[in-house]
């Protein structure tokens, strides 16, 4: 026989076996589509431009890995169904005189065809789906300037390679099956039941430990910077834990239920427990996959929608006032270059701005400014100082603003009554300063005078990621002495924060903002001017795009979950049909059959949903910290967004359940 014949035989095999092959092929295509779209997104230029940051790239790359992992597990899982159903066919071939090596060749061509059809069809459909989904979402959300589609050879290449590997694994598994078995075993392979699975205690424990660690990491996370590092570790641990627990834990649980005779031998539990236990080995992977994907949907949608709906909040936090000037002179000139600003220079800029506003006959609704020395320092309890060279912000570092009492009084109109050696310390509202003294470096210690006021009553800090402290001293000498004690050098120059709100429309705001920027630059101040109105548009676009991306990725994950659910129901429906026919013959009424099916399907269906929701709830602290990094400090809105997402997802899940359960009933009855 020449290889052309094998190729032909493989082709006829595939088309004769349509009923079994088609669902498998469709799930291959679905997975290819998902993987291809995800890797295209991760390479998207628009995304890079939009975010400009490494964070989103990391997140997207992570998404690609998750979908890749999912593809491997899911396709191996669905191939095992197919292989079992085709055992008889292979047995028959062997009995008719075909050798195992001939079968191997036919199988090879079959895999090759399926691979080409899946990858080719998947990528083509992927491009179409991407565009379609893109258009639909664009229409629905009216977001402008979102990511446009471009074809990436790299994405296509990755897809081709990944699926080649998956098909190879499946091919080798089938070969093993044929080689290991006698023809007669293959012939009866279909009827042969899956052996009752063994309880794998080790796996169950590993799963429990992974899940516990992941949960612990998520629950104990308290700082935004910490969250970014921990998040991925926690996600991986929880994923591993979920897979292990679903495969080993579920079997252990069912066996436990079965060993309780009074519970097990009840009409309702009897058939469903044994039925679930019977195929838990295959079931577990599918359920874990559904759970992980559902979790992905929940996380992605809740965070991104929260960002979008909390936009006003974000803008208020990031830009509390219409126009803000910030000149951080000390920081910039830490190495000696850059100009050191004096108080006089600062007040001259302020005067120029005021003159200009008067000239334009623009009146202010709000005005506040502060002049201070700025330094970065470590703080430990009541100690602030430096133990090592500064390398950006890390945990336990704060921005410290040194302010004079006169400046504070000018700014707030309140008197301080500070005696020499006394200071006021302002921290953020959430974490008030608890100590009675404050120690600067090794030499200077001051008594802290407590007030009712907080930082928020002064010049608002717009940066929520870093801890900021304002310390008010009785006079300039004391402030300077403390500064020197803390940093080991004299302050180079003053920093200045200036915030105003105008009476007038947004056009005025933009125009005045531009002019102020000019004035600040002319004065050769090393700082920046932020106009809320200008930033609003770009923020809207940015968060709009993120939301868009979130819906996109969420839909992708949802597609995956629905696909598995459907595949599971259909393939199991065929297996269960005979069982329920027998039960009816033995005296089970249709109604009882229905009840049994329902209780079984409900358990299998809602277990992943419940676990996914649990994961999401536990992940809440970590994700909240991540949200803080995106200028989103309000956890109230995030809580609501998460709750709404969970409810909405549960409804969608319920609909999918109803539809697939119907398909299942149809097959079984």
């Amino acid at each position: 026989m020449n290889s052309l014949l094998y190729a032909k035989l493989a082709k006829t095999n595939l088309s004769k076996n349509r009923q079994n092959i088609l669902p498998y092929w469709l799930s291959c295509i679905g997975t290819v589509i998902m993987f291809y779209i995800m890797s295209t997104l991760s390479l998207s230029e628009g995304l890079k431009k939009m975010m400009g940051e490494a964070t989103i790239q990391i997140v997207m790359q992570f998404g690609v890995y998750i979908i890749g992992l999912f593809a491997v597990i899911f396709l191996i899982y669905s191939n095992s169904f197919l292989a079992k159903r085709r055992k008889k066919e292979f047995g028959l071939f062997q009995i008719l005189g075909m050798e195992k090596k001939h079968l191997a060749k036919i199988l090879f061509f079959e895999s090759l065809y399926l691979w080409i059809l899946s990858v080719g069809g998947g990528i083509l459909l992927g491009i179409l789906c991407y565009k379609l989904l893109f258009l639909v979402l664009l229409k629905l959300t009216r977001f402008q300037g979102t990511i446009h589609f471009t074809f990436h050879w790299k994405a296509a290449g990755n897809t081709v390679v990944l699926f080649a590997v998956i098909f190879l694994i499946n091919y080798l598994k089938s070969l093993h099956q044929i080689h290991a078995a006698q023809p007669i075993e293959l012939l009866h392979g279909e009827q042969e039941g899956e052996r009752e699975p063994k309880t794998k205690l080790l796996t169950a424990w590993i799963g429990l430990i992974c899940l516990g660690l992941g949960y612990y990491m998520a629950l104990t996370c308290q700082k935004p910077m910490e969250a970014l590092g921990k998040f991925f570790g926690a996600v991986l641990l929880v994923m591993a834990g979920t897979y292990c627990l679903f495969s080993a834990g579920s079997i252990a649980l069912l066996k436990l239920l079965k060993s309780n005779k009074r519970y097990y031998y009840q009409t309702r539990h009897f058939t469903s427990i044994s039925g679930m236990l019977y195929r838990m080995k295959q079931n577990a992977m599918g359920l874990a996959n559904i759970c992980i994907l559902s979790n992905g949907v929940l996380l992605v949608i809740s965070t991104t929608s929260c960002l979008w709906f909390g936009m006003q909040e974000i803008i208020q936090t990031r830009f509390p006032h219409q126009i803000a000037v910030e000149v951080n002179d000390t920081l910039m000139s830490a190495n000696g270059d850059g100009t050191a600003l004096t108080k006089e220079e600062i007040s001259s800029v302020r005067e120029q701005i005021n003159n200009y506003l008067e000239e334009q006959q623009v009146s202010k609704r709000f005005e506040r400014d502060a002049t201070y020395w700025l330094a970065v320092a470590e703080n430990k309890e009541n100690w602030v100082g430096l133990t090592q060279e500064l390398k950006g912000f890390e945990d336990g570092r704060s921005m410290i603003e040194f302010m004079e009492a006169s400046e504070y009084e000018r700014m707030t109109g309140k008197s301080t009554d500070l005696k020499p050696g006394q200071v006021l310390v302002f921290t953020r509202k959430e974490e008030p300063y608890k100590y009675d003294t404050i120690q600067f470096g090794d030499t200077i210690s001051c008594e802290v005078k407590h007030t009712e006021n907080t930082q928020e009553d002064m010049v608002e800090t717009t940066n929520v990621m870093y801890d900021t402290r304002i310390i008010v001293f009785a006079d300039e000498e004391e402030a300077q002495a403390a500064y020197v004690a803390m940093t080991g050098r004299t302050p180079a120059g003053y920093s200045w924060k200036y915030q105003i709100d105008l009476i007038g429309d947004t056009k005025l705001e933009t125009r005045i903002g531009q002019e102020i920027e000019k004035l600040v630059n002319q004065a050769q101040c090393d700082g920046y001017v932020e106009v809320r109105e200008n930033n609003k548009a770009s923020l809207y676009q940015m968060y709009g795009s993120i939301m868009f991306l979130g819906i996109f990725v969420g839909t992708l994950f949802l597609m995956g979950a629905v696909m598995i659910i459907y595949y599971k129901q259909i393939s199991e429906g065929f297996d269960d049909r005979k069982r329920f026919q027998i039960m009816q013959k033995v005296g089970m009424s249709r109604q009882e059959v229905r009840q049994t099916i329902r209780s079984q399907v409900v358990t299998v269906f809602f277990l992943p949903l419940v676990v996914a929701i649990l994961h999401t709830v536990v992940a809440f602290p970590v994700t909240r910290q991540l949200m803080t990094m995106m200028n989103f400090p309000d956890s109230g809105i995030f809580l609501v967004a998460t709750a709404v997402t969970i409810v909405a997802f549960a409804i969608v899940y319920l609909i999918v359940y109803t539809i697939t359960a119907k398909a299942y009933y149809k097959i079984v009855e």
Binding site: E192, G193, R262, R579, I582, M588
Partner: protein
């Protein structure tokens, strides 16, 4: 006492489009006495499986009546059928129809679980039956782990555990080797001697030998019947011929 009465039973199958009508049963009449062991014989296509399905309430007749213990099966409502089947009938099938998901023990328990009996009661009932059938040491095994004969014994145990008025057997020895088939028929005879009424469909002469009476079906009608005494005589004649 007559336990089963079949009068003018008729069953016509129509193909889905209604163009082809096949008369599976034309006019079947017979009675089964309490404690009898009746074999129904016929060639394939003679209508014996149709007859059994009707007796089993798995299908509804086109005409005529079946009365079990005086109760007309046609009067049963859809909802009552399952319970009726469970309480009055026991089934033994050619392909065993054991559930792969259950151990033999659970397979045997199935009808009682459906009746919501207590575990202790189930166990008590099963113990004596299982001992009689010689499968006590196989109870924890799964159907795919035991031989065909053993599977069929488990199926018989499942049929008997509800103390049915009538055991219906559909080619019970059809999938067994001759040794296992002989053993099974002997078992049926023993059960029958203890008072269990059995109706069995078969086309195996050897299997029918075990019955007290044999009905022959042809073209949808009972055309002949033989009693054990006569039958035994024939068997003797045949044996002597073979010798």
């Amino acid at each position: 006492m007559v336990i089963l009465e079949v009068e003018h039973l008729k069953k016509t199958y129509t193909t889905r489009l209604g163009s082809n009508r096949v008369e599976a049963l034309r006019d079947v009449n017979f009675n089964v006495e309490q404690g009898e062991f009746v074999a129904i014989m016929g060639e394939s296509g003679s209508g014996k499986t149709t007859l059994l399905n009707l007796l089993a309430t798995l299908d509804k007749p086109t005409g005529g009546q079946i009365r079990l213990n005086g109760k007309n099966l046609g009067d049963l409502k859809e909802k009552e059928i399952a319970a009726f089947r469970r309480e009055n009938l026991g089934f033994v099938f050619q392909d065993f129809n054991l559930l792969d998901t259950f151990s033999l023990k659970d397979n045997i328990f199935l009808p009682l679980v459906l009746e919501r009996k207590h575990y202790r009661e189930m166990k008590q009932k099963a113990d004596s039956i299982v001992k009689k059938l010689g499968i006590s040491n196989l109870l924890e095994k799964y159907p795919y782990e035991v031989s065909g004969g053993q599977k069929q014994r488990a199926a018989v145990a499942r049929a008997l555990i509800t103390d049915p008025r009538l055991v219906l057997a559909d080619e019970p020895s059809g999938a067994l080797d001759s040794h296992a088939a002989d053993a099974l028929m002997q078992l049926f005879e023993e059960i029958n001697q203890e008072g269990q009424t059995i109706a069995m469909v078969t086309h195996s002469v050897k299997a029918a030998c075990a019955a007290k009476r044999v009905l022959f079906i042809k073209d949808g009608e009972v055309f002949h019947q033989l009693y054990r005494e006569i039958w035994d005589g024939m068997r003797c004649i045949r044996r002597s011929r073979i010798r």
